[in-house]
Assembly symmetry: C2
């Protein structure tokens, strides 16, 4: 659940800004969000319809509730509303961290909303700069906020650089001055670099060196957005990104400062954090769908995707296998409870059917061993080569007992070898080889496991039915096929089933499939389940 | 960004319950969350330290701001605090939806917190049941809330069934009575089923039919949790799950009702929604890490995972290729700006080196054509077979011109064929075949594209340097290798580069790689980049 981050900010009913944007950002970046609300707004994409300030004592109480119970790894402040609430924030933080190191504090000096609504009363400015800024690891003013804080206009890239340096004098350890409202081009960055050789320029979302093949196919505009990061104990960095035009910008500042708090909580340096958080915010604007009739919210969740296999838990250690079985439950049931199996369990299966089955199974096992050989050939670690090879050795041992078993039913080794392959056998065997050729080892495992797990399932239910459900007609004692049932329900085979289960669950956890890949795996599983059923149909048909 | 959902509830500073849990749930299930806050709490995992009620007018104002601007697809209510705020909620919803269909409303009748704090003053109960319940698609009381609402104790599964049915009389279209605080076993469910044949039993997280292989390897406890869902126009459903023991349960009710709102917004029926939302909530408890010293929050984000390749955007349509190049930028630069290439561009490359290179390239192209044949053999759609085959045809055409080109440099077709393969050629060619054998088509493409894209990059930078940077020494006019440069910078080859770029970007979008798979793809890309560099080292070494 990540690290714990605290936001002290206003609430935006419309969800695009304030603690709502902060909490969504924390979640999208893998962190646990807590919040102290300084003021409520009735707000939507068109503007702020109302503000309800929260009493300063209650802000302190919220902050204390969080800090007294949880270890917080970064804090951000957003809209603080008025001087008393700003003072309450400063007081709560200073009291809690008196004599202790405060985690990184990102202060977004929110003064005016995107829609032009005043979010900080003017009297609070002094408290903000004098009392809160000195506690901050980083402050993140935009152009208008910097102008308000410095009482002078900012209209060029050079002005931005000077403003960021002057704001550093208020005491924060770093200033990130956001240039979204300043028009600039790549040429401006070049001349800025030439005039200030000490500047580090970070091009984010812009092509780097040796990317002519990309540049020629998708040229980038020369209009850029430029942020300036001044650090008290570090270099000055200019972050440059292509300018984009979008109305999905409501809550951009909240999102950026929330993302900064997350990356600082992760232990990033301020300049790494600025790069990561800006890139996150920028993608949030670019991938947003239009929402509402005014300035809509960013898409905060571009950094995550829905997973397709549930996590393993103590009550369900085999979620992937369950998903496979459930996704083709009907055909799985037709396979494992096939009439062939039922009759075999009752001991009423025609001897000819069984003989036909074991002859064809002999051919099938040749494919099966070859498919595991292909699996070994495709593996690139010794444990994987070992595991596939052990299975081949098991199959080869099974063949020896298979021959003996056939002999009991009057089928000689020679007759076994000479038996013509039935088309159900060829279809199944060919499919195994084809999947093995086409895909990777996990896809091949999906094909191999329908047989391994299905026969394990058959062995177990026959054994349990014989023991617990006499009305099922299943018997082991005196059953002519007793040995077959005991083989598949026995510890040897069931041990292999356990290994198989563990293998696919581990694969699905270590390399979680995309929806497309899961669909492919499910299709392979289902196809093999059908081929298994067809195999038994074939064996039964020989008689009926 | 999904559909829009509104929560009308309290704020929990600790983040585990209230609108914070709701917003995290909405995000985790892919929806956009908006909120109207009814009361603030100063709260953490140990309890509620303070409550600040929000004035009823301001609740209405928040609801109006949301509904006036955004189309909302589901609404949930949580802690409503007092009678006035409950009335304000009812009034705002009724006014907005007067004469219109209200989206599904899930009402979680929050009365008391997990820690025992009163969250709804008693006078509000009547407003809740008389005015709000009749608007609800579903109400979700727990045992204590149902006892408070019905003024009678609930202590058995049978009591639950009766309570759910009686609560339906208050007017909601369905009641989901949560049995987390009632002890029950699978045997209780069986006897309940026998006594009430009309009941549907949904076993969630419990094994289904034909899963003996799972049951035998991970038996499930017989203690269960049971929820009862009564629908006014539908059957009564009992949802059954294995009981788990955890202290990460703070906000369970909020999470469930938020997840219900999401699934109803998706268009699910109430009983589907109950199944999906319960499973989501249950996994949230099971996968939570302990946080705080009391009852910690659920893990809401088990349903999503961080993505490893950024989305394609208008300003960056090739994020995956950029990621590959950036992830091995040093070796990529050594490859595309190799001294061999530089000298070739200057026209100063020793003729022997170039001849050695084109002889070995002839052998390499044989591997390259075979690897594309393998790609065609591994493809299972006609367009993919077609695309690989077109590339093979291009390579075969290239071979014809390659022979002519060699002839110009005095190398006969016979000499070309007889040339012994250098070990750099065998290493690279063998690696292509090995990757093709080991993995799926995407992995093979990663191996094939380092050559395609790298030669495209070389062609373009030589051409641009010749044109724009005379100081580079690169010339085309009069260069003995002019034809080579023109071939790789020309439209024919660059068209193939474009197709290659589009192919890998489309693969990475359609089948987003897990972190493990991305690491594998990057390793293949980097290995081929190194093999490419080694190829040029080899050609240069013949002379130096």
């Amino acid at each position: 659940m990540g690290r714990t981050v605290l936001t002290i900010a206003g609430s935006d009913s419309g969800g695009g800004a304030g603690i709502q944007a902060d909490l969504r950002t924390f979640a999208a970046l893998g962190h646990y969000g807590t919040s102290a609300i300084t003021a409520l707004t009735a707000q939507n994409t068109t503007g702020v319809q109302g503000v309800h300030g929260v009493p300063p004592e209650f802000i302190e109480q919220q902050i204390n509730s969080v800090l007294d119970d949880l270890e917080v790894h970064a804090i951000k402040t957003g809209m603080l509303f008025d001087a008393d609430n700003t003072r309450a924030t400063v007081h709560a933080l200073q009291s809690h961290y008196s004599g202790r190191t405060m985690p990184p504090l990102v202060c977004d000096p929110v003064c005016v909303s995107t829609s032009g609504h005043t979010l900080l009363v003017p009297e609070a400015l002094e408290v903000l700069t004098k009392d809160l800024f000195p506690l901050a690891a980083l402050i993140t003013p935009n152009k208008s906020e910097a102008e308000l804080l410095l009482s002078r206009p900012i209209s060029s890239v050079e002005d931005m650089l000077n403003a960021a340096r002057d704001l550093l004098l208020c005491g924060p350890r770093a200033v990130l001055l956001k240039g979204g409202h300043i028009t600039a081009t790549l040429a401006d960055v070049d001349s800025l670099s030439r005039a200030h050789l000490e500047l580090r320029v970070v091009r984010d979302g812009l092509y780097g060196d040796n990317m002519e093949i990309l540049i020629v196919n998708a040229p980038q505009a020369t209009n850029i957005v430029l942020d300036v990061l001044c650090e008290a104990d570090g270099p000055t960095t200019v972050l440059v990104r292509p300018r984009i035009y979008s109305t999905s910008t409501h809550g951009t500042g909240c999102t950026l400062s929330a993302a900064l708090a997350c990356t600082l909580a992760d232990g990033a340096t301020v300049s790494e954090a600025a790069r990561i958080a800006s890139a996150y915010t920028y993608l949030g604007i670019q991938t947003a769908s239009k929402l509402g009739s005014g300035h809509g919210p960013l898409n905060h969740l571009h950094s995550v995707a829905r997973i397709s296999v549930p996590p393993r838990t103590p009550t369900n250690p085999y979620p992937f296998t369950q998903l496979l079985i459930n996704s083709s439950a009907g055909i799985w049931k037709e396979y494992v409870e096939h009439k062939f199996v039922q009759r075999l369990g009752e001991g009423t299966l025609a001897r000819e059917s069984f003989i036909h089955f074991i002859k064809q199974d002999y051919h099938y096992l040749k494919y099966y061993a070859r498919a595991y050989s292909l699996l070994a050939a495709k593996s690139n670690t010794f444990p994987h080569i070992d595991s596939a090879t052990q299975t081949i050795l098991n199959i080869l041992r099974e063949i020896t007992t298979h021959r003996a078993f056939c002999a009991e039913f009057g089928v000689s080794a020679d007759e076994l070898e000479q038996t013509r392959e039935a088309s159900a056998t060829s279809a199944y065997g060919g499919y195994l080889m084809d999947v093995g050729m086409q895909g990777d080892t996990t896809k091949l495992l999906m094909a191999l496991l329908a047989c391994l797990l299905g026969y394990g399932e058959v062995g177990l239910w026959l054994k349990r039915a014989a023991k617990e459900r006499p009305e099922s007609g299943i018997v082991i004692e005196g059953n002519p096929y007793r040995r077959w049932i005991e083989d598949y329900s026995g510890e040897g085979y069931q041990g292999a089933v356990r290994v198989g289960l563990e293998t696919i669950e581990a694969r699905a956890s270590a390399d979680p499939p995309s929806a497309a890949r899961l669909a492919e795996w499910r299709a392979v599983w289902e196809r093999c389940t059908r081929l298994e059923k067809a195999f038994w149909d074939m064996a039964l048909d020989v008689k009926e």
